[in-house]
């Protein structure tokens, strides 16, 4: 299972800040090789000194990341990427401004080499309500918000009335909301911890943290799910022995509102249930 490449989709309407977020990712990533698939290289702010190779529809960066243009077929671009020899730790796709990012994330379910990670939707705090009321694109904007596992509410400094905005957003999406200016959000929250479970750069300017838990005894499924659904838990990853299936390893993967629990084979008595959570404050005591 660990060989699967996490597959993240960044959605959001034109001008919301998707490219800003991708620029932050490419500038801030350390120790992980991201493949970032975009519609237009031109919008990316890539320091020329960091470009190792530029090959038409692909740019290789000195930090090991690659950027590809999507061109006419996203399916073809992703599948060709998977056939490339170099190791990729994580794939991030920038959805077009009118695409339903949830549909694109389906690719992460369909291909056995991928694991569907989050759908992150960037919303412009100043514009999103007006866009959602537009007779032509309103339904598109609302579909995007509904598809989101996590929402980055960007440009909060420009919003007239943030309290009303928060309330409006909560009626249109169940996803946790990260408020940001210039898409300054911790990358770990969006893209998870790396495979070793280590966090990237510390982000002292915010209150997000990670917590690790382990339990020797089987865990109650309903109790754990209740905790994970707590609005302050933004990401979770772990291998758990549930009381209702004590012989199996249950792999828990959470991005925002989406919680996937998959079977990871027989439980071995030498291990303990382990869970790493990213969130605003510690929520788990003992289960």
């Amino acid at each position: 299972m660990s060989a699967q490449i996490p597959f993240t989709v960044i959605g959001g309407f034109l001008g919301a800040g998707k490219t800003t977020l991708l620029n932050r990712l490419l500038a801030g990533v350390e120790g992980r090789r991201f493949a970032v698939l975009v519609n237009d290289f031109g919008a990316l702010d890539i320091d020329g000194k960091l470009i190792a190779r530029h090959g038409g529809d692909t740019i290789a960066l000195a930090n090991g990341c690659v950027c590809c243009t999507i061109g006419d077929s996203l399916v073809e671009t992703v599948l060709k990427l998977l056939e490339r020899p170099e190791t990729i730790d994580h794939i991030v796709v920038e959805a077009s401004g009118v695409a339903d990012p949830g549909r694109i994330a389906d690719l992460g379910v369909l291909d056995e080499r991928l694991s569907r990670d989050g759908v992150v939707v960037v919303a412009d705090a100043d514009q999103v309500r007006a866009r959602a009321a537009d007779k032509r694109v309103g339904d598109t904007v609302l579909r995007q918000l509904q598809a989101a596992d996590l929402i980055v509410l960007n440009k909060v400094d420009l919003a007239d009335d943030l309290a009303v905005m928060r309330c409006w957003l909560s009626t249109h999406s169940q996803a946790p909301v990260l408020e940001a200016q210039h898409c300054a959000v911790p990358l770990d929250l969006l893209f998870g911890l790396d495979r070793r479970g280590a966090s990237g750069k510390p982000t002292p300017a915010n209150s997000f943290r990670s917590w690790s838990y382990s339990w020797p005894e089987p865990v109650d499924r309903a109790a754990l799910l209740e905790v994970l659904h707590d609005a302050t838990v933004l990401r979770g990853k772990g291998i758990v022995r549930f009381r209702d299936s004590p012989d199996r390893r249950s792999i828990v993967h959470q991005v925002g509102k989406r919680i996937d629990i998959t079977d990871g084979g027989p439980w071995s008595d030498t291990e303990e249930s382990q869970l790493v959570l990213l969130g605003v404050r510690p929520v788990l005591g003992s289960l």
Partner: protein, 545 residues
């Protein structure tokens, strides 16, 4: 400098100064003149060729909206409901039930090597079947060893057998949009849109689009077009990768290539800042039979695919509004970029909201960069109403209407997607004519077969597959329909000064017919035989089935 004068039973010129003639003189691949033999004698020495003396000659047909994939799909077996002609002139009989489809696939499967290679079929159209849908078990009867994929006629949906589903690990637990499941929650093997595209790629190993647009496919397309009397055809949306361009250049450089091909660059496939210089470079490769000059943009999906962008009150059966491929803001920007650089833009719009957005994009571009005779064209514009046609006229736009839809999907539009009133005014040729919007009519091959006489028959008779007349008021005359498939279509491609009518100085591109389409009863228009074509003075006889 030889001159040949061809005698015909009748020549329909599309030249209002001389609508009919009996002789046409051809020199250097161009029309020296048309008229009586007497009137042509003054041009000097000529050879008289009477092989067409029982035939009727029209300007070569111009198909303004087709795709060269039509030539590629014939590498694979056709399993559609209606009869269809392949590039070699063979007629594939339509398959009228699920059992017939399965039996045809079983027979074909036996001809394939036992190497586990993929069996791909196309053209499947279950909307005409009563009873259950095709499922995995049906295709497992064809083979449980090799992957079997059956593409539907819309190319957005497919059916698969167990090996395909197993390879992609699709089970009842797979919760992905587009995977159809039965009442018990089991996947049926039918897959739509993204999932279908993915599975086709995995099973066949390559992107279908590449497979369908190589040099051989280009030849196949030209031949199937030529069989229908077409001398100029578009490949109206292609990202034009190097391999495809090479195929086009190679095929069209042969004198034996029977059509003039106009590929339209997929204008949203790369940013306009890259697309425009690339298109200019491509235009340097233009030759007599190949023209890069068109740009295509796609706004919405399709009406029958339930993905068209509709204005209020939306779908007749309450289906939510469709999806944007290119949204309004991006469309505004792209139209302006191409418009400013002098390109003509062809914009796919099926729903009436999509048409509205496209019309407004052109309007904004004209305010920002006034330009005469741009001829930006709405492609399909199936739901455009009279008001939209008036706006198109005011803005100098053209329309290319999908008349074949009336026959193939008219019943579905009447009953399910649009309801009676809007179905009866769809593909409004009558309104286009009345408002003075220059228009063509098209087939969108391979979605429906290429055949301008059939397309004209649709616009004239507006009959659905079940025999319903869909909108008496939008019918046009045979003469107007023939103009739409010749000079009308040429106008929408900015080729009307070069071809589209039989006129001095124009290219000697003719459709040579067994009968006079103006003399047969209008319901027989589709049955008029095509003897062959002439392209630039060169004769191409259609193989007889």
């Amino acid at each position: 400098m030889s001159t040949i004068v061809y005698a015909a039973r009748r020549i329909v010129t599309m030249n209002p100064g001389q609508p009919f003639a009996t002789h046409v003189a051809v020199r250097e691949g161009r029309i020296l003149g048309a008229g009586s033999l007497e009137s042509l004698k003054g041009w000097g020495k000529f050879d008289l060729d009477e092989r067409f003396k029982d035939k009727v000659i029209l300007p070569g047909f111009v198909e303004g909206h087709s795709h060269a994939y039509e030539g590629g799909v014939w590498k694979f077996p056709y399993v559609g409901y209606f009869d269809r002609t392949s590039p070699d002139g063979k007629r594939s009989a339509g398959l009228k039930s699920l059992d017939e489809v399965v039996a045809a696939l079983q027979a074909y499967e036996k001809t394939l090597p036992r190497d586990g290679s993929t069996l791909l079929a196309w053209g499947f159209d279950p909307i005409y079947f009563t009873g259950r849908r095709m499922n995995v078990a049906d295709l497992d009867k064809v083979s449980t060893e090799r992957p079997v994929l059956v593409l539907h006629s819309n190319f957005h949906v497919l059916n698969a057998n167990t090996p395909v589903m197993a390879k992609a690990r699709i089970t009842r637990e797979t919760n992905v949009h587009g995977i159809v499941k039965d009442a018990r929650g089991e996947p049926t093997g039918e897959l739509a849109e993204f999932s279908a595209k993915y599975l086709a790629y995995r099973a066949a190993g390559i992107e279908l689009a590449d497979l369908l647009s190589d040099e051989a496919a280009t030849w196949g397309f030209a031949k199937v077009a030529q069989l229908a009397g077409v001398t100029t055809a578009t490949d109206l949306h292609n990202p034009l990768p190097g391999g495809t361009v090479d195929g086009y250049v190679k095929a069209s450089s042969s004198d034996a290539f029977p059509i003039r091909l106009l590929p339209a660059f997929a204008g949203a496939s790369v940013p306009t800042s890259e697309a425009i210089p690339r298109l200019r470079e491509l235009m340097k490769k233009n030759n007599e039979r190949l023209r890069f000059q068109l740009v295509k943009l796609v706004t919405d999906g399709s009406i029958q695919g339930l993905s068209a962008r509709m204005r209020w009150p939306g779908y007749y059966d309450g289906t939510p509004n469709g999806v944007w491929n290119t949204g309004p803001d991006e469309l505004d920007k792209m139209v302006l970029d191409y418009h400013r650089e002098g390109f003509q833009v062809h914009i796919h719009t099926n729903g009436d909201e999509a048409s509205e957005v496209a019309i407004e994009a052109v309007e904004k571009a004209l305010v920002a960069a006034p330009r005469w005779d741009h001829r930006h064209t709405l492609q399909h514009a199936q739901m455009a109403d009279a008001g939209q046609f008036r706006r198109m006229k005011a803005l100098g736009m053209c329309a290319n209407l999908f008349a074949n839809h009336l026959f193939y999907w008219g019943d579905i539009h009447y009953a399910k997607t649009l309801g009676p009133e809007r179905a009866e005014r769809m593909d409004a040729c009558g309104t286009a004519l009345a408002t003075g919007v220059p228009f063509a009519i098209h087939c969108d091959a391979p979605v429906t077969p290429i055949g301008p006489l059939f397309t004209a028959w649709c616009a004239v008779n507006r009959l659905t597959a079940s025999g319903r007349t869909l909108g008496e008021a939008e019918k046009i005359s045979v003469a107007d329909a023939l103009r739409a498939i010749t000079l009308g279509a040429a106008y929408t491609l900015k080729l009307d000064e070069e071809l589209g009518s039989i006129d001095v100085g124009k290219r000697a591109d003719f459709a040579i017919l067994d009968d006079d389409p103006l003399a047969v009863p209008s319901v027989k228009l589709k049955d008029v035989g095509v003897w062959g074509t002439m392209l630039g003075g060169r004769i191409f006889e259609a193989p007889k089935a």
